[in-house]
């Protein structure tokens, strides 16, 4: 009997409340010592074959009969009034089937009270019009025929400049989001800083990081009467469905969003995109399906980013290294068209046992592309500043940097004083230190000619509790095979595989008897979006509950068939085994079901709420060894040792892939990734994969992973926490701290491009 509850949802540092329907749990967490059959094993992906043969169809591969190709006309100005849009020449081009601009598009607001095509454009790349045509070439050519008269206006790119009086306004009402900074206080930071025996401070700058998933953003959209089907490269099918239904004025059951295989997100595909609604309007106008996928340069302009920050950080401590006070004032350049900026204050508030903390955060609109979540939003930025300054504190105190971290280990959640459900941080420090060879670290720079080596480390904290609502069904077919039905997504993490493992473990059927459906709002059930490291810890328990429900029903069925009691039976490897009147009985489930004609068993499960009397976090540490060439400024990362506590590891093979992936993105953030905007025009100079440098095969260090694989029995029936985001958080500061160890110079701005390293070595 389902019960309606209100549950606290924490995602990406933001807390909200949501209703959920939950069942009385049928499962209890597995014992920590219990050897499981399938869960916890390094199983290859169940859908790997399709991906490795090119058989998997991604949304950008879809070709529907009669499909048109669409292209968007984008503003060349960072800020301008759009005086006139004349699409007449474009409309006349042979092969053009639909044109959309402010002249004919609905004026309903899309974001921040602005319509799809506004009277003002607010960043280079802002959408002005769109065309659907027989092929992409004609669509692009038609866009060039659209005549637009702009009146360029002054623009602002820097977040602190944007907050000065007289700065050009991105949106009416001022550039400071919410009209005021976000403030957090515990204790009395000003007094504690005054009283502190040692104070260190610094100004830290982090770049705008661009996701550059290999599959760009886009949708294929098809109307059937008043029903709409959207094939979207997204990590949030239900969010897209709801937004599109709402904006287009359609009932939810007439909008279907499908995203099975998709080519990466990293947070950029968390919400409905403008390209989807534009495609829908073009498709309605033309009476044909429309494909609108962004090109790589558009991807670097308009699809979200990790916001650039400037952080003014001050730490006060005792001579023994006990943290007394942390003060953080941060400026975040959120771009245009958003009311949201990722908070960078999480690490300072949560990482260490510091009694006095004050954070003041200014999120400022700027005339640049809108932001989106990017893998551990805010925590990557904030942990960089915190952990680099912590190393400087250690140096000032003459303390080993790792020892300083350990001395400030938080035994309970610093803000709420709740006990942690589990905390493997101290073990992570130990394992990582061992793996990198921390004892061979030199306190001061040691070079061999121009080559210097160094070792550094950084801590990690993050959420990862998952939570309701998420639902799953499991259908057992008359031949004993099963289908797991969910509405979740796989953004590359291996969702289908871990959910299959969980179902197989609980149901007692072999892995190969399962199929699993994801990414379809029509057949699936509501699932958490694939953000916030939520999927495994939210969908996993729901699938286990569904499997337990199905198992219960199957055993009752088998008991009736075998004329014994259900409690005397088990299912393992697809075979029903047990006792009947004192004698052992055994029969394959498939045979039982085969004799029962067309009986259908459906198990249902929901994600139950998290306990509220504990703090649920993931923890970890990374250690980096680097080599720096003082002549060229080149930094080479030799090795990263990573140790994270993410609860029970459901599949060590896919888990290690997530860890490596996060580390490599963190390495890119530290050494090479930055969106470069021309201050004269506001144009993105490196809007392609040649100029925006993402790590290649040659940038990858040796990576040693030592997971603290320990089930957390307090949190959910799997004992698992999220793990997608933890691994990107400590990488950049670990690398920068290693470079500081190698060279002895302060490095407060990333990426550590060669010119920055050389500049730090020789400021003249």
């Amino acid at each position: 009997m389902a019960k309606l509850i209100k549950t606290r949802v924490e995602v990406e540092g933001q807390v909200s409340e949501e209703w959920a329907l939950v069942e009385r749990p049928k499962t209890i967490p597995w014992d920590i010592e219990q050897e499981l059959n399938v869960v916890g094993k390094p199983m290859p992906r169940v859908d790997g074959m399709a991906r490795v043969t090119g058989a998997a169809h991604y949304p950008s591969d879809l070709r529907l009969p009669g499909m048109l190709h669409a292209s968007i006309l984008r503003s060349p100005h960072a800020h301008a009034r759009v005086l006139r849009v004349d699409t007449s020449r474009a409309e006349k081009l042979p092969g053009v089937r639909a044109v959309l601009s402010r002249n004919n598009a609905p004026g309903k607001p899309w974001r921040r009270n602005c319509p799809l095509f506004d009277e003002v454009v607010r960043y280079v790349g802002d959408e002005v019009a769109a065309v659907a045509a027989d092929n992409p070439g004609i669509a692009q050519q038609a866009c060039r025929l659209i005549e637009v008269v702009y009146e360029p206006l002054p623009f602002v790119l820097d977040p602190e400049q944007a907050l000065k009086p007289g700065a050009p306004e991105v949106h009416a009402g001022g550039n400071l989001l919410d009209g005021e900074p976000t403030e957090y206080t515990r204790g009395d930071t000003a007094a504690a800083l005054q009283a502190a025996e040692v104070v260190v401070e610094g100004v830290f700058e982090t770049p705008t990081q661009l996701h550059n998933s290999l599959e760009t953003h886009g949708s294929v959209v098809e109307w059937e009467g008043e029903s709409l089907t959207i094939y979207d490269s997204t990590g949030n099918v239900h969010g897209v469905r709801d937004r599109m239904a709402d904006w287009l004025g359609l009932p939810k059951n007439r909008v279907r969003v499908i995203s099975d295989y998709m080519g990466g997100s990293f947070g950029s595909k968390n919400n409905a995109g403008k390209y989807t609604v534009i495609a829908a309007l073009l498709a309605r106008q033309a009476g044909r399906p429309v494909r609108l996928f962004l090109r790589r340069n558009e991807e670097n302009l308009a699809t979200g980013n990790r916001a650039a920050t400037r952080q003014y950080l001050k730490i006060g401590a005792s001579k023994e290294g006990a943290l007394q006070a942390i003060q953080l004032r941060s400026y975040i350049a959120v771009g245009a068209y958003t009311g949201w900026g990722a908070s960078v204050s999480g690490p300072v508030q949560e990482m260490y046992a510091c009694p006095n903390v004050h954070t003041l955060e200014y999120s400022a609109s700027t005339h640049t592309g809108p932001p989106s979540a990017f893998r551990a939003p805010g925590y990557v930025e904030g942990m960089f500043a915190l952990e680099v300054l912590m190393d400087e504190l250690a140096e000032t105190l003459g303390l080993d940097p790792l020892e300083l971290r350990i001395r400030n280990y938080a035994r309970e959640a610093p803000g709420s004083h709740l006990p942690y459900s589990s905390n493997g941080l101290l073990d992570a420090y130990q394992e990582g230190a061992r793996a990198i060879g921390w004892e061979k670290r030199q306190a001061s720079p040691r070079g061999d000619g121009a080559i210097y080596r160094g070792i550094g480390m950084a801590s990690q904290v993050w959420g990862g509790s998952g939570g309701p609502p998420s639902y799953a069904d499991i259908k057992i077919h008359p031949d004993g095979t099963a289908t797991i039905i969910t509405g979740t997504q796989d953004i590359g993490t291996g969702t289908k595989t871990i959910l299959t493992q969980i179902a197989a473990e609980e149901l007692g059927l072999p892995v190969k008897s399962f199929e699993i459906e994801i990414g379809d709002t029509q057949w699936g059930l509501y699932s958490t979006p694939s953000w916030g490291s939520m999927t495994a810890a939210s969908m996993g328990p729901a699938v286990r509950e569904a499997a337990a429900d199905a198992r219960k029903k199957l055993l009752r069925l088998a008991a009736s068939y075998l004329h014994t009691a259900a409690y005397r039976l088990t299912i393992q490897d697809g075979i029903v085994r047990g006792v009947k009147r004192g004698k052992p009985v055994e029969k394959p489930l498939a045979e039982i079901l085969d004799e029962l004609d067309n009986i259908m068993i459906v198990g249902h499960g929901s994600r139950n709420p998290n306990p509220t009397d504990v703090a649920i976090n993931t923890f970890g540490a990374q250690f980096a060894e680097v080599e720096v060439d003082a002549d060229t400024g080149e930094v080479r990362v030799l090795k990263i040792a990573a140790s994270h506590d993410c609860g029970r590891i459901l599949n060590p093979l896919t888990a290690s892939s997530q860890i490596e992936g996060g580390i490599i993105q963190g390495l890119g953030y530290a050494l090479m990734e930055q969106r470069l905007v021309d201050p004269q025009t506001g144009a993105v100079i490196n809007a392609n994969l040649e100029g925006y440098r993402v790590p290649t095969m040659l940038d990858v260090p040796e990576i040693e992973i030592r997971m603290i694989d320990r089930a957390d029995r307090a949190i959910n029936n799997l004992g698992a926490k999220g793990l997608g985001e933890p691994p990107i958080i400590p990488t950049a500061p670990a690398i920068v701290n290693a470079v500081h160890n190698a060279l002895g110079v302060r490095l407060h701005t990333i990426p550590l491009t060669r010119d920055r390293v050389l500049q730090a070595l020789d400021p003249s």
């Binding site: 490795v52 043969t53 090119g54 169809h57 290690s656 992973i705």
Partner: protein, 168 residues
């Protein structure tokens, strides 16, 4: 007399994965576009369209090329192989190795990775990890599968040292 191909001229003959095709292509069309739009072989992906990511890697006479930088007309008279043509019905040793080593995540770059690595291994059956990395430097992966791609290459070559990457 200059031969004129394309919509203004003759149909072109392309040989892809051992099959012969007769197509009308525009001179400006790339091999990547033609493989996908005309032949419906979607395994070859277009990640950037300008030779910066390697997702479109196919073979021309067994040598890896970026299909987005190859004109369809330039493939006339050559054998084109895409990821779909790599294995006959069952997986090649390298594709198996990709699965076993989990050398894929979202999978979008995977076709290109497999094509480049398979061609490299055909020429270098006993590679060391550094040689593999140099050969693969032109195939981007944003998900970060690089370490496992190296392992997959070594595994396919029978050279993998069974050292565990992940420890508890």
């Amino acid at each position: 007399m200059t031969k004129i191909y394309g919509i203004a001229g003759e149909a072109v003959h392309l040989r892809v994965n051992g099959q012969d095709y007769v197509l009308h292509v525009a001179p400006i069309q790339t091999l990547a576009e033609v493989i996908r739009s005309e032949l419906g072989l979607m395994g070859t992906k277009i990640g950037c369209g300008m030779g910066n990511c390697g997702a479109c890697t196919v073979w021309l006479d067994g040598k890896p090329v970026y299909a987005c930088l190859t004109l369809a007309l330039d493939a006339i008279g050559h054998a084109v192989t895409t990821v779909e043509g790599l294995a006959e019905g069952e997986l090649s040793a390298l594709q198996q190795a990709f699965l076993q080593e989990d050398a894929l995540q979202c999978g979008y770059c995977t076709s290109g990775q497999v094509m480049t690595l398979a061609a490299f291994l055909a020429e270098n059956p006993q590679p060391d990890p550094l040689a593999i990395r140099h050969a693969m430097a032109g195939n981007l992966c944003r998900c970060g599968t690089y370490p496992k791609i190296v392992r997959a290459g070594l595994r396919a070559a029978g050279l993998l040292d069974e050292e565990r990457v992940s420890k508890s």
